[in-house]
């Protein structure tokens, strides 16, 4: 499960908390892994160290044993001692005794590890020395078996004024070197008790490292020197077994490790004990401190997290909730300076957005209404529309018949009507003023036939204005309105004037007639309706054509247009359009 895959579902606080926890876990893992690696290195080095210590200890014991063997050999080959043991004359024996005593004293001074020396005659009883009890007979037997100095082993020993302690006995037979026989007869023996204090001291120095202990045991597990800590029965049995068999062995037991090796020349075994906890003690203390510091760092991080949550993540969370619930409402201003600046900016943006939205909505509403009006007009137009091709064909037939019958007025009239009809159903919203005026002329030619000499028209068009674009069919309703409401009821001298000129940035088009005109009230009412053309107003009873024109112009040019009706009853009416210039040809 990868937590980062789901970060899209998480909020900032949770991410931050997760990162903090992950950091802590990583930190702890780092500490633990480092500790384990260090422990491994230390234990491996310690193992190597123990192996070398074991070698040095064995070497040391061998050296001591060798010195002891040399010592007893020196005594065994000393002629004074031999004569002392053989001499029967008491005075002479006493003289030898003095010499031997001085010799032994000096030898002990040179070899301080020599604790005691015992000289035997062959006829001595098997128990003649208190200190050698109860092993004297066995020791003598061992000495007799070898003609060279021999290590007799570790035994308990006590002098007259000392408590019993373990010593190393070495012995050598003493032979009559003055004998003429080839095989020199044995006259006695010498046994030396070697104090283990010096060996113990040297082994102790070798095993100074914390956690190391050493001990020498006999094959019967009698402690010789050094000491082992309290061991479990099973472990003790394994050690005892190795000592009994006098074998080299390594024993590992959870936090304890033991190297066992036989002591040369004896049935004893040297054991080097390693307490891994003690070896790793310093390391474990350091690890403990590091873990403690890690926990404190976690607390510090938690505190920092708390502060950050208060000033960053919680404000962000609140902003997020506020956005989810009321996306455009003002956001709570809280948290640190950055968050506050952010939320204040967002609040300003939201206010601007609301304002723009309102404006846009109003424009959309107007557009919608305009579209509705246009759709209505188009619907009305379509409703009145019969099959255009049929009408065109019919009109063409009529025109052809008129031409055949030489009725040129009808033919001309039908032609104009067809042009108007085609113009009106042709696509496109805007047309040039010139095109619009062209269809106006067609319309006027029809009206001219209809009204005959009852009216005249004139067009005063500024040439630059002809190419300006205007909404399609925006003039025809004005001209038609002039005929329907003005000139139709005038019996003669009707005049229709159309002017178009550019004034400033506006195209000013005026349609004037001198028909019956309107009252001032009605004129005002129409102007009011035209001004309200963009609003949602109910359809007016009068001036529907003018209002529609106004709305279409508004749709095309916005509110920046003008349409003004001026009329005087019985004098005529003028409709003036002021269109912002829109050049699109």
């Amino acid at each position: 499960m990868n937590p980062f895959r789901r970060t899209a579902e998480w909020n900032t606080a949770r991410q931050f908390r997760t990162m903090t926890m992950l950091s802590l876990v990583c930190l702890l893992a780092l500490v633990l892994i480092s500790s384990i690696l260090y422990i491994n290195v230390i234990l491996n080095r310690n193992r190597t160290y123990v192996e070398r210590i074991m070698q040095q200890c064995q070497s040391n014991i061998e050296q001591r044993s060798h010195e002891a063997l040399q010592f007893v050999q020196t005594l065994a080959y000393d002629s004074t001692i031999a004569m002392y043991l053989q001499e029967e004359d008491l005075v002479a024996r006493n003289e030898y005794s003095r010499q031997v005593s001085a010799f032994l004293s000096n030898m002990k001074t040179v070899q301080p590890q020599v604790s005691d020396v015992f000289l035997f005659r062959e006829d001595d009883s098997p128990e003649s020395f208190l200190s050698l009890l109860p092993n004297q007979e066995r020791l003598l037997s061992q000495t007799k078996r070898s003609r060279v100095p021999v290590i007799l082993g570790f035994f308990p020993h006590s002098t007259a004024n000392s408590v019993e302690s373990m010593v190393l006995y070495v012995g050598c037979g003493i032979y009559d070197t003055n004998s003429s026989s080839v095989v020199k007869p044995r006259i006695g023996g010498v046994i030396a008790a070697i104090s283990l204090k010096y060996m113990d001291s040297e082994l102790s120095k070798l095993t100074q490292l914390s956690g190391l202990q050493y001990a020498v045991f006999t094959e019967a597990m009698t402690p010789v020197c050094g000491a082992l800590p309290a061991l479990s029965n099973s472990l003790y049995q394994r050690i005892a077994s190795a000592c009994l068999l006098n074998e080299t062995k390594n024993i590992s037991h959870i936090w304890q490790e033991m190297s066992i090796a036989p002591v040369l020349g004896t049935q004893g075994s040297l054991i080097i004990y390693t307490n891994r906890i003690a070896v790793l003690n310093d390391m474990l203390i350091v690890t403990g401190y590091v873990l403690l510091v890690t926990v404190l760092m976690y607390l510090l991080l938690s505190y920092v997290f708390h502060l950050t949550r208060q000033s960053v993540s919680r404000p962000i969370e609140n902003v997020t909730k506020a956005l989810e619930q009321h996306p455009t409402h003002d956001l709570p201003v809280e948290g640190n300076k950055d968050i506050q600046v952010l939320t204040e900016t967002l609040n300003r943006l939201f206010a601007k957005e609301r304002q723009l939205t309102e404006t846009l909505l109003a424009a959309n509403r107007r557009l919608y209404e305009s579209q509705l009006a246009q759709n209505k007009l188009e619907l009305q137009f379509l409703r009145s529309q019969i099959n255009p091709h049929f009408i065109y064909n019919t009109l063409e037939v009529i025109r052809s018949i008129s031409i055949v019958q030489h009725n040129h007025e009808i033919a001309e009239m039908v032609k104009s009507l067809a042009a108007i009809l085609r113009y009106s159903i042709k696509g496109g919203e805007v047309v040039s003023l010139k095109d619009e005026l062209h269809i106006i002329r067609s319309y006027l030619s029809i009206q001219n036939i209809r009204f005959g000499s009852r009216f005249e028209y004139s067009m005063n068009i500024q040439p630059e204005a002809e190419n300006l674009m205007i909404p399609r069919m925006c003039l025809q309703p004005l001209v038609e309105n002039a005929f329907v409401h003005g000139l139709e009821n005038k019996l003669s001298d009707g005049l229709l004037t159309i002017t178009a000129a550019i004034e400033a940035d506006e195209l000013v088009i005026a349609v004037r007639d001198n028909g019956v005109g309107m009252t001032a009230e009605k004129t005002a009412e129409l102007n009011q309706l035209i001004r309200q053309a963009g609003m949602d107003q109910p359809p007016a009873a009068h001036g529907v054509g003018l209002i529609n024109v106004a709305r279409r112009i508004q749709i095309d040019r916005g509110n920046a247009f003008g349409m003004l009706i001026e009329s005087t009853l019985n004098e005529g009416m003028s409709v003036t359009l002021r269109l912002p210039i829109k050049k699109e040809i």
């Binding site: 005794s97 005593s101 004293s105 000096n106 020395f129 002098t159 007259a160 004024n161 010498v190 510091v293």
Partner: protein
């Protein structure tokens, strides 16, 4: 807002302080825990100590001695020697200027040799820094270690001339003794002793009738024949102080012993001490000897006899199995006042540095203080005894057990001690040793000290150029006479040797000394 910020600042400061404090403790702990190799290798000052004392054994390092070593940051290196040939050994070492740091030795014949050879280091001119030791030096025996206006050692004991008797007796297996000496009265003359030993020899022909713990003890058997052997006594005829070994009484004492030797009643190897052969104690305990001349010192009994007995006779209380027989009187049946010149002294080798001497003297001074004496008598405070509020001592470990518990107990007792009564006081606390002390005291009360001598401690120890190399070799000369065909002739030969070595000049010097 400001309050909240202050609170946060305070919290942060506290947290950081906690971490800093923890780090400080960690570093402190680490620094304290970690010891440099140099620190771990600190070694106490090695003090070599030597003497013809069996308690001087490297195996005797026990909590009691360790306490002393730790207290004065020293470590002892023991160099034991035999007593019989100690003089020869030490003279050899002195000639090489290689005497040990501390020499515990009865240098009655060798002090001048040591001084002249420059192998001894004198004590500081002022000993006021060591008030307890200083008290020793004002005693009569303190004078004996003065020479050339310098102090050369510290007497170990404050024995005075009123000792009166010889601290030696004979120990026999009771069953054998009873068989050989059916009388209720113990033998009190050399003739009766001869009978006793002859009977033993007859009854137990494979055993030695009488052996000896050491050579000197064997000659003590006839000590009352020459009670001034080891001192100088006023000779009414010559009107001079004369050494006992130069008088006829020396010959008479050996002559009294000679019948026993000649009849094979004495251990033929009793003189062969320290030569690797079985000692008198070995022979007695292993029943190779039926009787043994032995010390009456409760310390020696406690530290030597009792452990040896328990080792060889674990099921038999020795007071039920042995018979103590005390020394016979002289030819007239008298027990003259006996003198034993004891000059057991602590000397210091010339190689001892000032600092080492200061530590040694401080140690000895402490051992002679009230605290040190209590320590030496009663063991470790809290472990072996407790001291009540009123100052009385309640022993937790019996005195006799202290000998077995602390092998160094005997050694510590042999160091200088002002308390002359400590011996008997301490010894009486053990029931078995009480048996010896009671019998010894009873014998002392019964014998009638009939003859008194005018002796001179000063004459015993006076140093003159004439006695620099003089050594009467009393034990050797005793053995020469004992093994000679004619004691008289041998003694005359010995006297001539003394004269050749300047004894007459020495006598003149001593008698003319201030």
């Amino acid at each position: 807002m400001t309050e909240a910020r202050s609170r946060r600042t305070l919290s942060s400061a506290l947290l950081f302080s906690a971490i800093a404090l923890l780090a400080f403790f960690a570093v402190s702990h680490w620094t304290a825990h970690w010891k440099s190799p140099e620190a771990g290798e600190h070694q106490p000052m090695i003090v070599s100590i030597s003497g013809p004392n069996t308690a001087l054994s490297s195996e005797n390092m026990d909590p009691m001695l360790q306490y002393v070593c730790d207290r004065f940051d020293i470590e002892f290196d023991f160099l034991p020697t035999g007593s019989y040939n100690a003089s020869e050994i030490y003279r050899l070492q002195a000639s090489l200027n290689s005497l040990p740091d501390i020499l515990m030795y009865d240098a009655r014949w060798d002090l001048n040799y040591f001084i002249r050879s420059g192998s001894l280091r004198p004590l500081p001119t002022s000993m006021h820094a060591y008030p307890h030791l200083n008290a020793f030096l004002s005693w009569p025996y303190g004078i004996s270690v003065q020479y050339d206006s310098k102090l050369w050692g510290i007497p170990s004991r404050l024995f005075d001339s009123s000792e009166g008797t010889v601290n030696t007796c004979a120990v026999f297996y009771k069953e054998a003794y009873d068989a050989a000496w059916p009388s209720d009265t113990p033998p009190a003359s050399m003739e009766e002793w001869h009978t006793l030993l002859a009977n033993l020899h007859e009854l137990f022909p494979d055993s030695i009738p009488l052996t000896s713990r050491d050579p000197e003890s064997m000659y003590d058997l006839s000590y009352f024949y020459c009670p001034t052997l080891y001192t100088w006594a006023w000779d009414e005829e010559k009107l001079d102080y004369l050494p006992g070994y130069y008088t006829d009484s020396f010959r008479e004492s050996i002559a009294a012993l000679k019948p026993l030797w000649d009849d094979g009643l004495l251990d033929p190897d009793f003189m062969n001490e320290g030569s690797g052969r079985p000692s008198g104690l070995d022979k007695f305990m292993l029943s190779d000897a039926i009787g043994m001349m032995y010390s009456c010192s409760p310390y020696i009994w406690q530290s030597e006899f009792v452990p040896a007995w328990l080792k060889t006779h674990p099921d038999t209380p020795f007071e039920e199995s042995i018979q103590l027989v005390f020394l016979p009187g002289n030819a007239e049946g008298d027990y003259p006042e006996a003198f034993r010149l004891n000059m057991d002294t602590v000397f210091f080798g010339s190689s001892v540095s000032n600092e080492k001497l200061t530590r040694i003297l401080s140690m000895l001074d402490w051992l002679c203080s009230d605290e040190g004496r209590i320590f030496r008598q009663h063991g470790l405070k809290g472990e072996d005894y407790i001291q009540t509020e009123v100052g009385t001592i309640e022993q937790l470990t019996s005195i006799s057990a202290l000998y077995g518990k602390y092998p160094s107990y005997s050694l510590l007792r042999t160091l200088p001690d002002q308390d002359t009564n400590a011996l008997s006081r301490a010894g009486l606390q053990d029931a078995s040793i009480s048996f010896v002390i009671e019998q010894y005291n009873k014998w002392r009360e019964t014998v009638n000290i009939q003859t008194h001598f005018n002796t001179s401690i000063r004459a015993n120890t006076v140093s003159t150029p004439a006695v620099i190399n003089f050594n009467p070799q009393i034990l050797s000369n005793s053995f020469r006479m004992l093994t000679s065909d004619s004691i008289e002739a041998e003694f005359e030969a010995i006297r001539r040797e003394y004269q050749a070595n300047g004894i007459e000049l020495m006598i003149i010097s001593v008698n003319n000394a201030p």
